[in-house]
């Protein structure tokens, strides 16, 4: 005899529960957390290095680094003298909220106002996993092409801020800034977009000013 069992079970429920707990812990300690996402090599770590250099005297910063196998990115940040914790996902294609919870335990959250979480380089999966962050920040570099918003709309939709990086190289590519901006305006018309170069520092004044305002403005 056939029997039907109703479930209505959310598949990502475990992650959502962890994310909710992270959000409570962070809010309790007065930490704002940013989840930094992009495809591999778009410049997340280089952007972090430059951002940390310009903000570390004004804002107490911390970083969680997600990486498949190595400590390389964490070492780059550690040199700048701020607290950093490295998560090795062991091949996992995204960070999940439980990994971030473990990392948070290893950081002096009382001494941090702004926590950056560098996700694993991947343009698809990280967008689906809430980490408990306050804001999703996405990096897209001009060398990847202007068609990325149209091809990977999910992450562009989820991001509150989009950093278009490697602008120093834009003239060497066929990257169409207008087409990119037009697609982003369709997918996520409320997103803040900054055109930057982590190599030359172009655009970082605006981006860092925005971050300062964000950290101070939020209750």
């Amino acid at each position: 005899m056939s029997k039907k069992v109703e479930m209505k079970t959310r598949i990502l429920k475990t992650n959502e529960d962890w994310a909710g707990r992270n959000r409570e812990v962070l809010a309790g300690k007065g930490v704002k957390a940013l989840n930094l996402m992009s495809s591999p090599g778009s410049g997340k770590t280089t952007i972090l290095e430059r951002t940390v250099e310009s903000l570390r005297d004004e804002i107490r910063l911390g970083v969680i680094e997600g990486d498949l196998q190595t400590e390389l990115d964490a070492e780059r940040i550690r040199r700048l003298g701020i607290p950093v914790y490295q998560i090795e996902t062991g091949g996992g294609c995204h960070l999940d909220a439980e990994m971030v919870a473990r990392a948070m335990e290893q950081l002096p959250l009382e001494e941090i106002d702004l926590l950056f979480i560098e996700n694993v380089g991947n343009l698809v999966c990280p967008a689906e996993f809430d980490l408990g962050e306050d804001l999703k920040v996405m990096v897209a570099s001009v060398t990847e092409g202007h068609d990325k918003p149209a091809k990977y709309p999910l992450m562009f939709r989820e991001a509150s801020v989009i950093l278009v990086n490697k602008m120093d190289l834009v003239s060497a590519t066929d990257f169409d800034m207008e087409a990119f901006a037009r697609d982003v305006a369709k997918i996520n018309p409320k997103a803040e977009v900054f055109w930057v170069s982590a190599k030359t520092g172009a655009g970082f004044e605006e981006w860092c000013e925005w971050l300062k305002g964000y950290v101070k403005g939020k209750p």
Partner: protein, 113 residues
């Protein structure tokens, strides 16, 4: 990309129900997957077939109901299906829209004996 991990999670949940309801075998698993998620139905089907070669779900049918992306406009209250990548309101051209359907990712029900 992480459909294998998703399917492992799904089957764990299903097997828990199998025990709770003293089922001998599962004949059907029904999922609901919104198009805003990164989970691809074909990849889910493939992972299901690989992971259910034996166990209580062996031979079970996997049904996946896909949900279109529907957004609602906060300015004029219009609800519309998002086609392609345009999330702006087709009625008032408003930018204040939010997704009201398409983020679903859940196990609806199972059937078994």
């Amino acid at each position: 990309m992480h459909e294998l991990a998703l399917m492992q999670g799904i089957l764990e949940q299903v097997e828990q129900k199998v025990v709770e309801h003293a089922l001998k075998k599962v004949t059907r698993v029904k999922l609901v997957v919104g198009k805003m998620t990164a989970a691809l139905p074909d990849a889910l089907r493939f992972c299901f077939s690989v992971l259910t070669e034996d166990g209580p779900c062996a031979g079970a049918e996997l049904e996946i109901e896909e949900r279109e992306i529907v957004a609602a406009c906060s300015d004029c209250k219009e609800e519309f299906t998002v086609r392609g990548i345009d999330f702006r309101c087709p009625r008032c051209n408003g930018r204040n829209t939010r997704v009201v359907q398409g983020n679903e990712l859940y196990i609806d029900f199972i059937e078994g004996e």
